[in-house]
Structures are given as structure tokens and as C-alpha cells.
């Protein structure tokens, strides 16, 4: 039994050593392109108040080349066209290398900032021109 254990240990140690002998692959990562992500759901955060409002957005990365990058609020001038309208975009960095077909869900809390009293529209733009929208009343 002891012999078996020692032998097992030696085999495992050899396996681990081999597995850890990773090749010296380049530090340079493949080029990344930033893309607007499609968001499937928008939720009101429990922290939704007039001083520090935020929402949760969720969606799916279609393959392993996608990685969360950032979210923006009223990033463009055109986003600020209407009062109490808050336009969100979620961005992912997409690596231009080989990709695994692994769908990965993501959820992020996005801070909108201080909101004044009244009805606010929170619109999350998708990459394809569609959007998810949430209307909240702040009193």
C-alpha cells in the first residue's frame, strides 16, 4: 500500500512537472478590438437613489475571445439630446486570435451618478441598433 502511495506520488509529481512546463509563448497578446455588446437584461439596483443611482446589466459573451471592457453613460453628444435620458453602452474587448465556442454570461453594475427628481429613462444600446430600456421614478 505504501509502495503504491509512493509510486502514485512520483507519477503525480512527474505529471505536475510536465503540466507546468508551459512553453515560452509571447507576451504580446493578439490585437483586441472594442465592440459594443448586446445586453439582454437591465435591472434596477437596490442602490437606486437620487445621489448614486446604478443599474445591473447582463448579457452573454458569444465566445472566449470576448472580455468585459467598460460601460459608458452618455458617452456621445447625441446621447444627451433629451433631459433625464441616460444612454448606456457596454463594451467588450474582442481578441483577434483563436476562439473557443464558450458562451459566458456577464453581469455588471453600472453607476449612472446622481439623478434629480422626476422620471428617468435608462436606455442600454446594443451593438445592432436595438436597445433595452428602463423607466424609473425618482422622488
Amino acid at each position: 500500500m505504501k509502495k503504491f502511495s509512493i509510486a502514485s506520488f512520483v507519477v503525480l509529481a512527474a505529471f505536475a512537472a510536465k503540466a507546468n512546463a508551459l512553453p515560452d509563448l509571447p507576451v504580446d497578446e493578439p490585437t483586441k478590438v472594442e465592440r459594443v455588446m448586446s445586453v439582454t437584461n437591465v435591472f434596477v439596483s437596490s442602490r437606486m437613489d437620487r445621489d448614486d443611482a446604478s443599474v445591473f446589466i447582463s448579457g452573454q459573451f458569444p465566445n472566449s475571445c470576448y472580455q468585459w471592457s467598460r460601460a459608458t453613460v452618455n458617452e456621445l453628444e447625441e446621447d444627451k439630446s433629451a433631459q433625464n435620458m441616460h444612454v448606456l453602452r457596454a463594451y467588450a474587448n474582442v481578441s483577434q486570435g483563436m476562439c473557443l465556442q464558450v458562451i459566458t454570461p456577464f453581469t455588471r453594475e453600472v453607476s449612472i451618478g446622481a439623478l434629480g427628481d422626476g422620471q428617468h429613462t435608462i436606455r442600454v444600446l446594443n451593438g445592432d441598433g436595438t436597445y433595452q430600456q428602463l423607466i424609473v421614478d425618482i422622488r
Binding site: 503540466a19 508551459l22 515560452d24 509571447p26 490585437t31 465566445n63 483577434q96 486570435g97 483563436m98 476562439c99
Partner: protein, 133 residues
Amino acid sequence: MAFSSLVLAVSQLLLGQWQFYKMIYQGQEMPPRDSNLVLQYTFEESGVSRLKWSYKNDSKFHCERIGQFSFDESNFYDKVTWVNPDNSVQCGSDPDMQLGRISQVPYSIVEGDLFTKIPLNGEVIYYVWKRIE
């Protein structure tokens, strides 16, 4: 001169047909998720690459495409120039099977095996390929 010789040597190592047979994730070696998967990458001397996969237990499923590749000492670059029109419908969702797609793949050849580096949720997974031709 020494650098070009090195690149030439690497290219000769890269040329040939490779079959995916294991992966390394978080320092651990693992077999392919599906033991029936046959995933092959071919690099021809003419600069043509061929990527295809199928499943031993599903004769109807196959994805195949041809590309034009180039390389440096640490990355190969592959542009998809032809996608097999007879591919299974599901192939189209894979970026590696989309016409015009250009991929940049970090690679290394260690002890005769081809290692390719693939991003996975902020981490890295290595696909390891053995030469079959």
C-alpha cells in the same frame, strides 16, 4: 541573417498537419472535452492553411475552411479565404469559420508539439497539437 534563419527554422517546424490532443488550463493538462472530436490544423509550404473539425460519432457534422497564413517567431496570422459550403450550419457561429476573419495566434513548438494560446475569460488555455504528417 541569424534572425531570418531562425524564422525559417520555425516555419519548417510549423509546416505540416497537426491534431489537437490535449489542453492545459490553470497548469493542468486535460484531454479534449469531447473524445470524439477530431480537430486538425494544416500549414502548407505554399502559405495555405486548413482548419477542420469533425466528430468520430457524427459523420454528418464537419467544419472546414482554408486560409492564407504568415508568421513571425511568436505568432501566426491566418486569414480565412474559403469556407466549405457543405459545412454544418453550426460552423458559421465560430469566428474561425467566417470568411475574411484574420486571427493572430501566439504559438510555440515544444518537444515536437505545437502550443497555441487561446484567451478564456481573462485567463489562458493552451491547445496542444501533435504532428500527424
